[in-house]
């Protein structure tokens, strides 16, 4: 019988299961991984350096492109840091809109994750189901901000504009009948809030569908249960946050422990796992989707009842309205200064974190009093999860590498920045 020697296997950077451009150099012994060396940086765009050369507001769009499946949460982390520096507090309505959109983003992210994770592990069907719901939320993004993905919707001091009164509808086409069209536009007759409410009504049923496909699926469990478990102490030492930490049984969620926006006014639960394996992380994320739908519903109720401004009344930070700009000299000057120079922040340094779908997303800004950040450091949650990959994967099989990458929920936009 031939003796297997250890050998080195190159995985990626162009591999469908690598979720982007991950290159893994695996030291194998037969089919068992002895050591994994992730090579990252193939998507490095020096976002932080670019931000040093731009006024604060011009970098908001770059934040979307970090973790490009949880766009608005990244913006939130960045915008909160600027607000902390400037000492401004957005109006309550803006806070509710942000909270609602953060949760929409969380569902978007987790839907993407369930779909592709299933795809990696061999469950094609879940992908088709999750992308159906994702499309609806993308439409919400588009209705609210004008862009399906890279929204640039949050601004220091609030959000760019109030929620629109109507939801875009499908148009008549020779390829669909009147009846089909009516059915497609059923939830789109009212405002964005009506559409979202309808979504939240049916979404728990959709999650049930995904769970029917996966949760008790024998193959799914064989591929996920007891794969790459991490204990709670170790998870903390490795810098885990978000579902990776909660999957290991540590009840830690910034939305509860260090509430920002209006999370302290809302009623929701934090799902926690026990074993810290890939299956528990799956369960945590699925439960989080249900909680997010609950949060969105509460935000909708509040937003319906409380109209009001959506950004602070501070012309030094927020540009004046178009009418005021044409009418009023002061506003014209503010407008001109804001768009040619931006605003200067007081000197100092701040660190602002939000509970992004993947974990603690934070920005650390060093300011020397200029209109551009002196140093911007982004803390991407996946970076730390991926760093622990070597330790988690040792002794597992090659096929488990794919499971683990899926379970980390890695997105290279933010790992490489």
């Amino acid at each position: 019988m031939a003796e297997f020697q250890s050998y080195t296997l190159n995985f990626g950077p162009q591999h469908p299961a690598a979720h982007g451009v991950l290159r893994l150099v695996l030291e194998m012994e037969g089919e068992t991984v002895r050591k994994a060396d992730p090579h990252i940086g193939l998507l490095h765009r020096a976002t932080e350096k670019l931000a040093e050369a731009k006024p604060y507001n011009q970098s908001i769009g770059y934040m979307d492109r970090l973790d490009y499946v949880s766009m608005m949460c990244n913006e939130h982390g960045y915008v909160r840091a600027i607000e902390k520096l400037l000492g401004i507090e957005p109006p309550l309505r803006a806070q509710y809109i942000r909270t609602m959109m953060d949760e929409v983003t969380r569902i978007l992210n987790h839907l993407m994750w369930v779909g592709t994770h299933g795809l990696d592990v061999g469950a094609m069907t879940a992908f088709l189901y999750t992308f159906r719901e994702r499309e609806d939320l993308m439409d919400v993004y588009e209705a609210v901000s004008g862009a399906r993905m890279h929204a640039t919707y949050y601004r220091p001091g609030g959000v760019h504009r109030d929620l629109p009164d109507r939801m875009p509808k499908y148009e008549p086409s020779p390829y669909r009948s009147e009846r089909e069209l009516k059915e497609m536009n059923r939830a789109r007759e009212g405002s964005v809030l009506d559409f979202l409410e309808d979504f939240c009504e049916r979404f728990p049923g959709c999650v049930d569908e995904y769970e029917t496909l996966l949760t008790d699926n024998r193959i799914w469990k064989q591929r996920l249960v007891d794969i790459c478990p991490v204990g709670p102490e170790r998870a903390l030492e490795l810098g885990f946050t978000g579902p990776m930490l909660r999957g290991s049984g540590v009840e830690w969620d910034l939305r509860k422990k260090q509430p920002y926006a209006v999370y302290d006014r809302l009623d929701f639960d934090i799902p926690v796992g026990t074993n810290g394996d890939c299956y528990d992380r799956y369960l945590v994320r699925v439960a989080e989707m249900r909680e997010s739908a609950r949060i969105i519903k509460q935000c909708i109720d509040w937003l319906r009842a409380n109209p009001g401004p959506v950004s602070v009344d501070d012309p030094k930070v927020v540009p004046p309205s178009r009418e005021a700009m044409k009418d009023d000299m002061e506003s014209l000057i503010h407008h001109f200064k804001l768009f040619t120079e931006g605003y200067c922040t007081p000197p100092g340094e701040v660190y602002a974190a939000v509970e992004a779908p993947k974990g603690e997303f934070a920005t650390y800004i060093v300011s020397d009093g200029a209109n551009k950040p002196y140093r911007l450091k982004v803390r991407p949650p996946c970076y730390y999860h991926l760093a622990a990959m070597d330790e988690m994967i040792r002794g597992h099989m090659l096929a488990d590498v794919v499971t683990l990458i899926g379970s980390i929920d890695v997105v290279f936009g933010e790992v490489d920045r």
Binding site: G41, L236, E237, C344, P347, G348, Y351
Partner: protein
């Protein structure tokens, strides 16, 4: 969240003269430690019941070489207008040194490169920022924290890659984000935004070669620092004021 003021008091009480600086600004506690004290102090921060910082969340390299410099005088009126900030050589456009460099970095101050560590305590629900300046600007060396928190591994590699900070004792100090064979440390303030070299295909050699960058560096919005009366009297970081003076 726990009260940051009491945390600051506890830190002052425990570390005493080992704290080069400690202050509270924007509701965040920042302390500064000497490189020699870093590892033992961090171990205490992790283990002592009063602190219990279980997590090292982030390590950020910072290059303070250009701190407080701007590209446009805002104190008095100028006759040359907007283009002054845009066309004349400023570090934002060209970097401090390098092939387009406009000026050299001043002699070693020992306050140029810093590692900034963000800690989180789940037990007490508080955060802490620790800053540690590397003593030598030409060869910035800091002790590694991989022995205290394993999560320091990759961010320290990143600070090495982008800022050239050397973490003594790090088990695997390789470049992480930049390309294989990259030269220089791109996030340093003397590294131009457009880079130094760019790859292109050489039809004669039949392969990709590196040559000097051909794109023009430009600034759309000059960097300005305005003295704003509204921010007077705000709690500011003392160390940043030192930097502004120097």
């Amino acid at each position: 969240m726990a009260d940051p003021e009491s945390l600051l008091e506890q830190l002052r009480g425990h570390f005493g003269s080992r704290l080069i600086e400690a202050h509270l600004a924007y509701g965040e506690v920042t302390i500064e430690l000497a490189p020699g004290d870093l590892v033992p102090a961090m171990t205490e921060l992790r283990d002592l019941d009063a602190f219990r910082f279980e997590q090292l969340l982030d390590v950020a390299g910072v290059d303070y070489a250009a701190y407080g410099s701007d590209e446009w005088i805002t104190e008095q009126a100028t006759g040359s207008g907007f283009s002054r900030g845009v066309t004349e050589p400023g570090f934002g456009r060209l970097g401090l040194t390098g092939i387009y460099g406009v000026q050299g970095v001043a002699e070693s101050t020992g306050r140029r490169f810093a590692g900034v560590y963000h800690l989180l305590s789940l037990a007490h629900n508080h955060r802490l920022r620790v800053r540690c300046y590397a003593e030598d600007d030409d060869l910035p060396v800091l002790p590694t924290l991989t022995g205290v928190w394993p999560s320091a591994n990759w961010p320290e590699r990143e600070a090495f890659d982008l800022y050239g900070l050397i973490f003594e004792g790090h088990p695997d100090l390789r470049r992480i984000l930049t390309d294989y064979g990259f030269v220089g440390h791109p996030f340093r303030k003397d590294f131009p935004l457009i880079g130094n070299v760019e790859p292109r295909y050489d039809p004669e050699k039949g392969r990709v070669v590196y040559g000097p960058v051909e794109i023009e560096p430009r600034v759309l919005v000059p960097r300005v620092i305005r003295d704003d009366n509204r921010y007077r009297g705000r709690p500011q970081s003392a160390s940043t004021e030192d930097q502004a003076d120097g």
